[in-house]
């Protein structure tokens, strides 16, 4: 009746138990606070059932931040093991736990931190940037968020009930097949990603349609902010790459449940096909992560240089080139698997080619700064940190694009340093830049600059200390994912430096947490207006807080950076606003319901509780059918209410 679930599934080792207790206490504290302050109804009606992309965006960011803390905790354990115990007698982290920790670390950081931050910022900013009130499919947007949460719940549930995968963040077969991973670990990994992946796919469709069809009249493609272009590239990649992941995860799951032989090492299965397919998705995935970060920098650099972006057209072409080329390089992740010289040469060349448009973008940002009046506020500092770290990462990437060189460093710490360079220097720094840049828009107060700068320097120095030694270690022969090594190799010193680097990063995180807390406490002193940075794009033309409907009227735009033109050119008049009633989607619990059922489906399949999985699946189908047939899904905001809101929020009479 309960499949393979039993009391054995509860954790046995002290570290996992500690983690579960810690996480559990945090969750209980949250529940207690909500109960004490009687905020359950508020949470449900104002946030969890909201279809407002601004609210959904914030929720994505909250989840991503919490998962960042878990991912960093995992990183701490890995560094501790490698710096302190690996050269000696073992330490408290068993080899099996170590493997679960690095698998969880990678999976969480990529799928729940980076993707979560990405969708959070996209939800918050894209509708405002194109001058629209909402996304194309608001209910689908909510469902996407809740599927993301469902995946997050499953991967954290693996801590408490059962185990996690030991097969790394990509679960290569044959290790991930039943023969070598008979437990629930790989299944947790599969279903967490499968469910979150469907959420991502639906969001990809949603945002592409939004950008294609809901731009302000007059906003042609070449007048959109570059951030929106970067989202077009990103979502095109999501739409065309994620189905490959869905198919591949399904096939691995079929191998593990009904006895198919796609990737097994017997009966004709071919594990190499898994690696081929997973990277055909995996390479576009890393471009999915970085393109919005590029977009964020394209917004920040012009504003903090008081100069328009250099080379708008070449930026667009570069983005589109990167989007297309992402699909032509995937074999560089497995040069060493044995496809031979011709195949390796083709993909090596394509990998070098894709570096070119990225270089174009970096030069354009620098040329934007040249002869601008540059202000080094925290967002701009994150950009400078990005230029330094991402360039190092890019150089090592082009180095590894040469198959002969890659044969030396593949799967060594050199590789690990390279991709952390790209993801931390690119995606994470971009995320922090976006956070500090757009924070005042949504909250009405700045984040404390001094603490922000301290956080930045800790992250930058910490990052360099944590990862530059890894390049050296990689050249010295250190493989990735090692939980022990011979003390006589002399590696421990560099591992200790890397560990210190992580501690400095954690100090940076501490400064960020304090910064947020302190800024909230001192929000009256730190209060700013609706346009604190003298922005260029439409979001800065709204009030703070932004009205639920974003814009009172959808007046046509004429220029790129329309808001900037309205502010700084006397011959550009603000258009007359025509106020009409606005239709807004009603709140609904459908998204949350589907999220809950998704967790149950996943849990049921993982533990082989088939009746439960089937029942939850049928339930979700029924909910979807009912939701698509519902008529009364919108609410009208009347003209009087709009006029009153505009007076209150913007102090204008419309």
């Amino acid at each position: 009746m309960w499949g393979r679930l039993s009391l054995d599934a509860l954790p046995h080792d002290m570290i996992t138990i500690g983690g579960v207790i810690g996480g559990g206490l945090a969750l209980l504290a949250g529940i207690a606070a909500l109960t004490y302050f009687k905020k359950w109804r508020w949470l449900w009606t104002n946030w969890l059932t909201s279809l407002d992309p601004k609210k959904i965006g914030v929720m994505y960011l909250v989840v991503a931040t919490i998962m960042l803390l878990r991912g960093l905790a995992d990183a701490g354990m890995l560094r501790a093991q490698q710096a302190v115990f690996a050269a000696g007698d073992g330490g408290p982290i068993s080899p099996d736990l170590f493997q679960q920790v690095f698998s969880a670390h990678g999976t969480i950081m990529i799928f729940f931190v980076a993707m979560g931050a990405l969708f959070g910022i996209v939800n918050l900013i894209v509708p405002l940037h194109i001058g629209s009130r909402d996304v194309a499919f608001p209910l689908l947007n909510s469902i996407s968020f809740w599927l993301f949460v469902a995946g997050m719940v499953l991967i954290n549930l693996a801590l408490a009930v059962g185990e996690f995968s030991t097969a790394g963040w990509l679960a290569y077969p044959p290790l991930s097949e039943l023969q070598y991973s008979p437990g629930t670990g790989v299944d947790y990994w599969i279903w967490s990603l499968q469910i979150a992946g469907i959420g991502s796919l639906l969001s990809g469709i949603n945002f592409l349609v939004t950008i294609f069809t809901m731009r302000r009249p007059g906003m042609s493609f070449m007048k959109m902010p570059i951030f929106v272009w970067s989202v077009v590239g990103c979502m095109a990649l999501v739409v065309f790459a994620f189905p490959i992941l869905t198919a591949t995860l399904s096939m691995l799951s079929l191998d593990r449940t009904i006895g198919t032989h796609f990737f097994t090492s017997d009966m004709g299965g071919n594990p190499m096909m898994y690696i081929n397919l997973i990277w055909a998705w995996g390479h576009p995935e890393v471009y999915i992560l970085i393109l919005p970060a590029f977009g964020v920098f394209s917004e920040i650099v012009p504003v903090f240089s008081k100069k328009r972006l250099f080379g708008y057209t070449s930026m667009v072409l570069a983005l589109m080139a990167i989007t297309f080329l992402s699909f032509t390089v995937w074999l560089h992740h497995f040069f060493t698997m044995g496809a031979g010289a011709n195949v390796n040469a083709f993909f090596g060349i394509m990998t070098m080619v894709i570096a070119i448009p990225t270089g174009v973008k970096v030069f354009n940002w620098i040329f934007t700064m040249y002869r601008g009046r540059v202000k080094f506020a925290t967002p701009m500092l994150w950009f400078m940190g990005f230029v330094v770290t991402f360039t190092i990462g890019g150089l090592t990437g082009v180095l590894m694009a040469v198959p002969g060189i890659d044969f030396q460093v593949h799967n060594s710490l050199f590789l690990v340093a390279h991709f952390h360079n790209m993801i931390i220097g690119g995606v994470i720094f971009g995320f922090f830049a976006a956070l500090t840049y757009w924070w005042p828009k949504f909250t009405g107060f700045r984040l404390h600059e001094g603490l922000g700068k301290a956080a930045f320097w800790c992250w930058l120095i910490g990052f360099l200390l944590a990862f530059l030694p890894l390049y050296a270690l990689g050249f010295m022969g250190a493989a990735r994912r090692l939980d022990s090594y011979d003390a006589s190799l002399g590696w421990q010193g560099l591992f200790i430096v890397a560990g210190v680097g992580l501690l400095i990063i954690l100090l940076g995180v501490f400064f960020q947490v304090v910064q947020v807390g302190y800024s909230i406490w001192k929000r009256r002193e730190l209060a700013v207006g609706a346009d604190p940075w003298d922005g260029r794009t439409l979001e800065w033309s709204t009030s703070t807080p932004i009205a639920e409907y974003n814009f009172a009227s959808l007046t046509p735009v004429i220029y790129r950076d329309e808001f900037w033109e309205q502010k700084h050119r006397s011959d550009v008049k603000k258009p007359v606003e025509l106020i009409e009633p606005i239709r807004v989607p009603k709140n609904t619990g459908v998204g949350a319901g589907i999220g809950l059922l998704a967790v149950i489906v996943g849990f049921g399949v993982i533990w082989h509780i088939w009746w439960l999985a089937l029942a939850a699946l049928l339930g979700s189908i029924v909910i979807v059918i009912v939701a698509t047939l519902k008529e009364d899904t919108e609410r009208i905001i009347g003209v009087d209410e709009i006029v009153a809101t505009e007076k209150k929020l913007r102090g204008v009479k419309v």
Partner: protein, 196 residues
């Protein structure tokens, strides 16, 4: 209906069909991954039967003609919908449904026969690929038939509303798309499976 509402409805139609088309594009990539896997694993018969030994071309042709006809009758249904002819619409949708069910029945009987002979997906990588590729298509057909039933139920309850019109349009796209995928399954799995 007022002009602004009409324009709003047209815009909703446009947004929805664009979004659904994009979803179909993602389904194409999903099927492409399964096709690629099927082709790569096609020779891996692990001592079990090869494609030439287990596929019946006449049966596959029958399935193909049934599905093609159902795609045609679905088109006729959409034409009746445009003319606001509820009776014709329901008739053609019913014919489409019957043809779809026939298709699935034949397919399931093929699967059952193979499994009964001991040639299930567990026997070899080739068979795994076959059952998954063809089975995924069959599952899509099943969802389509379920969708069709819901649509007919709504038609009986509410007649032809703008919302139903929009949703039937999407169903049409879905059903045509599934026939298109089948053309490739017929070609790559059955025809090439017997030819090589």
């Amino acid at each position: 209906m007022s002009k602004p509402r009409l324009l709003e409805q047209k815009f909703l139609d446009y947004k929805t069909s664009t979004g659904f088309w994009l979803y179909l594009m993602t389904d194409c990539v999903l099927f492409a991954s399964l096709f690629a896997t099927y082709i790569v694993l096609h020779p891996a018969t692990a001592g079990g039967p090869t494609s030439g030994e287990i596929f019946s071309l006449p049966m596959a042709l029958t399935e193909t003609i049934i599905l093609l006809t159902s795609s045609f009758t679905c088109g006729l249904a959409l034409l009746a919908l445009r003319q606001n002819n509820l009776k014709q619409l329901v008739i053609w949708l019913a014919v489409t449904y019957v043809l779809g069910v026939s298709f699935l029945t034949i397919e399931l009987s093929e699967f059952a026969a193979l499994v009964g002979d001991g040639h299930s997906w567990q026997q070899s990588a080739f068979l795994s690929g076959f059952f998954t590729l063809v089975g995924t298509h069959g599952f899509h057909i099943f969802i389509g038939l379920l969708w069709l039933l819901v649509m007919v139920a709504v038609l009986f309850k509410k007649g032809i509303t703008l919302k139903v019109k929009r949703q039937l349009g999407l169903f049409g796209l879905f059903w045509h798309f599934l026939d298109l995928v089948w053309v490739f399954i017929f070609t790559v799995v059955y025809l090439m499976g017997v030819a090589s």
